[in-house]
Symmetry: C2
Subunit: 284 residues, 2 copies
């Protein structure tokens, strides 16, 4: 049991709740991981609360969102926990991009289960985020089993595939500036061809635009995308998600926010709308 | 003129306003400086707005508060600009702590004008923050001449001395976890003895608890201090400020916030109260 325990490494009071950071051993990933958790005041007072899982983007860690998004204020008022995992396995023995690039390997796990060597041993972020981590947190912390999932960029796509692949597991889903279709953009092609191999037939199981066509559950998706995002045209391509959702009849509210870029200043500006979107489902 | 110009180096839309970062040459400091400025939507629409100057603490930069405090949301709603200078002069030729310590020199200017070599040439953060920077920003940006000042830790004390030394220059003042009396704590004694020399008689002109005794203006001070701040007893000592304000009859609201520490999670939790405190004076 000891290797499944959460080790608290920091705690700060925040909006009457607790912003904590934990270290734990992940058997799915085969390494030690950090996870940041915000518990709202209601949880400290004894209630079991729903959790919004936040999947961060390339180069980020479990600390990025909790430091930069300003999400705790409304999460505390609503009574939502915020769970922020890291963006890849890390540590000794975990392989990285051979050139040390920032868009693959460490900090760039893409929330999938890799099938190819040498990645398949550790890069299993999907199973970690969807199953191992919630089981651990729900057993150790005052969380109930109501879960929402959101994220940014690589993590925005991650949120979409976590929800689309696992009907019944989440009650709500949203994304900021998601990589809408990894198979047709440079970031995604690089990552998928290495994690999943060159055979593109295997990629569809990890792509939101493919998964949405056959989804057995139609959770409404909220997406915000900045119009001044420097990655909009080459990497993010929200119109592909729009087309896929329309073809499938999947409810999607995709908002193009004029003048906003890819930064956490954009996320902070609209995080409250996303928290309310999730709260409507998680607290219903 | 060219060395007084603001060079915009980044801009992100944020809550309908603009979060910008500028580089400029400071003649007071004798070096190039960065400053972060948030302009609320009202300023982008043509109004001249008041500015709250935020003075950060040891090791921070002009970017710390704008990334971590979550202040832009309410500042945008109220119509307040936020100005965040760096915490010391920087760059080639600017001397640093000989041992590279984080509590003196670079990142630790203490918002005073140094009198001792080799610091006196560049370490003139008081004149920079109080005079040079506002003059530059008010000439180049849609800011009126209504100013408030706040800050954290070293910068909390900096905010107090900027206001107390310059009656009429600020309409409002507040602080988070200020170093209440530098002459009686390790951080302050180290900095003051080097910047100002060993003769303690010269220190009083840069100490809030001394300045408050003879202040010709009684701007109400709002201070928040976390009860679980690890620096509370040895470095911050808010009771010394409380005593000095009481003796002088200076209006001070000092709130001890149970369980909060020294981090930006603490600041974020109460920044809205401070923004409203400043707005009441700046927008009256």
């Amino acid at each position: 049991m000891s290797d499944s325990l959460l080790e608290a490494i920091s705690e700060s009071r925040c909006f009457g709740g607790a912003q904590r950071r934990y270290r734990h051993r992940s058997s799915v990933l085969g390494c030690s991981m950090h996870v940041s958790v915000f518990l709202p005041p209601q949880a400290l007072a004894g209630a079991r609360v729903p959790a919004l899982y936040w999947l961060s983007g390339l180069t980020c860690t479990d600390e990025t969102m909790v430091q930069k998004a300003g999400a705790q204020r409304l999460a505390a008022a609503l009574g939502l926990a915020l769970v922020a995992p890291d963006t890849s396995p890390r540590g000794e023995g975990v392989p990285d991009d051979p050139d040390g690039a920032w868009d693959f390997g460490l900090g760039a796990g893409f929330y999938l289960n890799a099938s190819e060597a040498p990645w398949a041993t550790h890069y299993r972020m999907h199973d970690y985020v969807v199953a191992e981590l919630p089981a651990l947190l729900e057993s150790a912390l005052p969380l109930n089993e109501r879960r929402g999932v959101s994220g940014h960029s690589m993590g925005g796509h991650g949120a979409l595939i976590c929800a689309l692949r696992n009907p019944g597991r989440y009650r709500s889903v949203s994304a900021f500036a998601p990589i809408a279709q990894p198979s047709t953009c440079p970031w995604g092609e690089k990552a998928f061809s290495r994690y999943l191999g060159p055979e593109r037939g295997s990629w569809a199981a990890w792509e939101a635009c493919s998964l949405i066509a056959q989804a057995s559950e139609r959770l409404p998706i909220l997406v915000d995308q900045g119009s001044a995002d420097p990655f909009l045209d080459q990497q993010l391509k929200p119109d592909q998600l729009r087309s896929a959702a329309a073809a499938a009849g999947h409810p999607l509210e995709l908002r193009l926010q004029p003048g906003y870029d890819h930064s956490y200043f954009f996320i902070a500006s609209f995080i409250d709308d996303h928290l309310r979107h999730h709260a409507a489902a998680l607290l219903a």
